[in-house]
């Protein structure tokens, strides 16, 4: 098998693979054959790969951004004025953790919560997909965390058992304001992760009082009225330094520490900007953009075939493979598709054709200069490469700056701009592959030159 042939099989394999990934997960077919109708129901399984300890699983659905799926995006400003500079990063982390927990309470699927530092301002950005009426969620998200220490209440009337029954907890005077900071440490004897609590002077006094009164009994800690943990008091603690030990995993200990810190380092947060888009508006946008994209694409294909004939047809096949590979990568990476992202994709389709136009124009020139078409084909690809490379690198540079991968705070970190940059960059890279590798292989195999030149070239 020649190299070109093996490349062709590789391309065919890739195309089929991309086709399977690109198609919707469930397909219903009702073909009528020989007067009988069949009902074919095809379901593609989700992708699950395991390589050693690395798991790769994808649901293979396109992830839609808020502008397409509908939902609410809020930016919260965290007021750090009362937090010591060395604790600010921890405080922001905790505030973020608390918001994540509150969002969880609303049962919102796949929320997106991240923090960023813009100049001296600390911000938390919360994206809640599919939430049309965000009023209740926003009220809860925007409040400052409340950490309380609760003391147990026992049923005094019960006489049947020797031990009084624990019925409820009640808030004590000890609150998050009395806690200075918590950290995750390791027990020197067992190596188990534990959480160290450091109380303020006023807290030390209150905590000593509580541990004396409730020795051997549980003390519950609750955040926003949600119980976090209820450790049993082992001894009276007068130093203001306590340790919560238990069967913690490292992650579990870190989460609890963050939750406690949210109470210890309460950061007032305030909604400074908000953007809500209803799901119907999003769905309309998708349908319109997809339809516009398909029509635009058909015009491009017609133009290429009308102008370049057979060459244009092969370029269009390349473009089709380009579309499939791109869509599959969106699903595999996965890329959250936004409206600007769709625009970036459509723009990159135009640029994908450009590589082919550059090459075909070069080929025509070489043929005009009297070269046989197989030579012209190779020369066309070779000579066009310099222009293609320089032009695409320049576009990649812009995409890189727009994407801002290092999160430089002096450049935009906004979702829509990133969405555009990532689809543009991906589009350019894939178009280099399909426009050059795929089209060249297909041309070598299936293109036998324009008829008039074929006669001429067979003699040379």
């Amino acid at each position: 098998m020649s190299r070109t042939q093996s490349r062709f099989w590789l391309i065919l394999l890739l195309t089929i693979l991309s086709l399977v990934i690109s198609l919707p997960q469930e397909i219903n077919l009702n073909p009528h054959l020989f007067g009988r109708s069949f009902n074919v129901h095809l379901v593609r399984p989700d992708l699950k790969l395991s390589l050693g300890s690395y798991d790769f699983s994808r649901s293979l659905d396109i992830k839609l951004g808020l502008d397409l799926a509908g939902g609410t995006r809020v930016t919260l400003d965290a007021d750090m004025s009362s937090i010591a500079p060395e604790n600010q990063a921890d405080a922001l982390d905790s505030a973020k953790e608390i918001i994540a927990q509150r969002v969880d309470l609303f049962g919102i699927s796949e929320p997106n919560i991240y923090s960023q530092q813009a100049g001296s301002a600390y911000q938390i950005i919360v994206e809640l997909p599919g939430l049309d009426d965000p009023q209740a969620a926003l009220e809860l998200i925007g409040t400052t965390a409340q950490l309380e220490f609760l003391t147990p209440i026992y049923d005094q009337t019960s006489t049947e058992s020797a031990q009084p029954e624990l019925v409820d907890f009640q808030p004590s005077t000890l609150t998050g304001a009395d806690l200075q900071k918590t950290t995750v440490d390791f027990d020197p004897n067992t190596g188990q992760p534990v959480i160290s609590l450091q109380f303020s002077p006023s807290g030390t006094e209150k905590f000593a009082q509580l541990t004396k009164e409730y020795l051997g009994k549980p003390l519950a800690i609750a955040l926003d009225r949600q119980p976090l943990t209820a450790p049993i008091v082992q001894s009276e603690i007068t130093t203001g330094q306590a340790v919560i030990s238990g069967d913690f995993t490292l992650e579990g200990a870190q989460l609890l520490s963050k939750q406690l810190n949210a109470g210890a380092l309460p950061v007032p947060i305030k909604i400074t900007s908000q953007n809500t888009i209803t799901a119907t508006l999003g769905a309309d946008s998708i349908n319109q953009s997809v339809r516009a994209g398909l029509i635009g694409l058909s015009v491009v294909v017609l133009f290429m075939i009308a102008y370049y004939g057979q060459l244009g047809l092969i370029a269009s096949v390349g473009l089709f493979i380009y579309g499939l590979v791109t869509l599959s990568l969106y699903k595999l990476i996965p890329i959250t598709l936004t409206l600007p992202g769709i625009a970036g994709f459509i723009l990159s389709v135009g640029m994908a054709v450009d590589s082919n136009i550059l090459i075909f124009e070069r080929m025509k020139e070489e043929i005009r200069a009297g070269r046989a078409w197989p030579v012209a084909l190779e020369l066309g690809f070779g000579r066009a490469w310099d222009s293609i490379k320089d032009a695409n690198i320049a576009t990649l540079i812009t995409a890189f700056i727009l994407f801002n991968p290092l999160n430089w705070s002096f450049l935009p970190t906004s979702g829509p701009i990133r969405g555009f940059a990532v689809t543009l960059a991906l589009g350019i890279l894939i178009s280099l592959f399909t426009g050059i590798f795929v089209t060249r292989t297909l041309l070598r195999l299936f293109y036998h030159g324009p008829r008039s030149i074929k006669l001429f070239s067979s003699q040379s």
């Binding site: 930016t75 400003d77 813009a118 301002a121 009023q135 926003l138 400074t272 900007s273 908000q274 953007n275 809500t276 888009i277 209803t278 309309d284 946008s285 319109q288 953009s289 516009a292 994209g293 635009g296 694409l297 015009v299 491009v300 133009f303 102008y307 409206l339 600007p340 769709i342 625009a343 459509i346 723009l347 389709v349 135009g350 640029m351 054709v353 450009d354 136009i357 124009e361 000579r383 310099d386 222009s387 320089d390 032009a391 690198i393 320049a394 576009t395 540079i397 812009t398 995409a399 700056i401 727009l402 801002n404 002096f410 450049l411 935009p412 970190t413 906004s414 829509p416 701009i417 555009f420």
Partner: protein, 283 residues
Amino acid sequence: MNWLKYRFLYFFISLAILLPGLYSLWSFGLNPSVEFTGGSLLEISLENPSPDQIKDLLSPTYSIHSLNHDSSTITLKLDPLTQSQADQIVSDLKTLDSQAKLISFTSVGPSVGGQLLTKALTAIVIAALATLLYIAYSFRNLTFGFFAIIAMLHDTLILLGSYSLLGHFFGFQTDLLIVTAILTTLSFSVHDTIVVFDRIRELKNKTTSSLYALSNRAITETITRSLNNSLTIIFMLLSLALLGGDSIKHFTIALLIGAITGTYSSTFTAVPLLVTWDTIRRK
């Protein structure tokens, strides 16, 4: 073909398009969206919007910066609001029209807006500088890079100018997407200029003719490719602008202006400037 014989005509066409835009930028400025200025934008669907009634209803309580409407929706620009205030406005409007429904709501605090503008401008400057460095490196020649950047600047100013005019006469807003469109225009413009310059460089190594003759030949050899490439991009963008949703219409129109001026400036601004500069230098 002697393309460069008419180079002063090309400069004149550029100026004829640039000047009205620059005048508009100078006197009307841009129409910045709430993303940059701070404030809130409410899009509400109504059965029969009547702007006057809505104004009468809302103006005692809120300061209305602008009110646009079409057959089924109104767009209100107000000071920053909270979600509950926005919900209140919609329930107020229900007294006029029981079908009133909030479609989209954006509210931006004033400080956030300022930051964004600075960042966007920084991104544009950095992208331009990075491109200049890349061309200078790739062509081993700063002059090529310089004129590619001039062509790029030409396109940016045309885009900004047109946007100022569109903003003044048709209420087009300059938002974050427009900044993205400017950056795309920059890269598209350079993309196209590089192809022509690349051909000039190639011919320079092959023949000993003057830069004037070389450039004429380079334009002849690249103009089909340049036009065909632009046509495919313009087909895609035009279909998006005409058939795509309202939310990206302005964005695609900006990209369309950018694609057209980007194609024009490579052949008819960058190359003629390069040749003119070369003629002046030789004298």
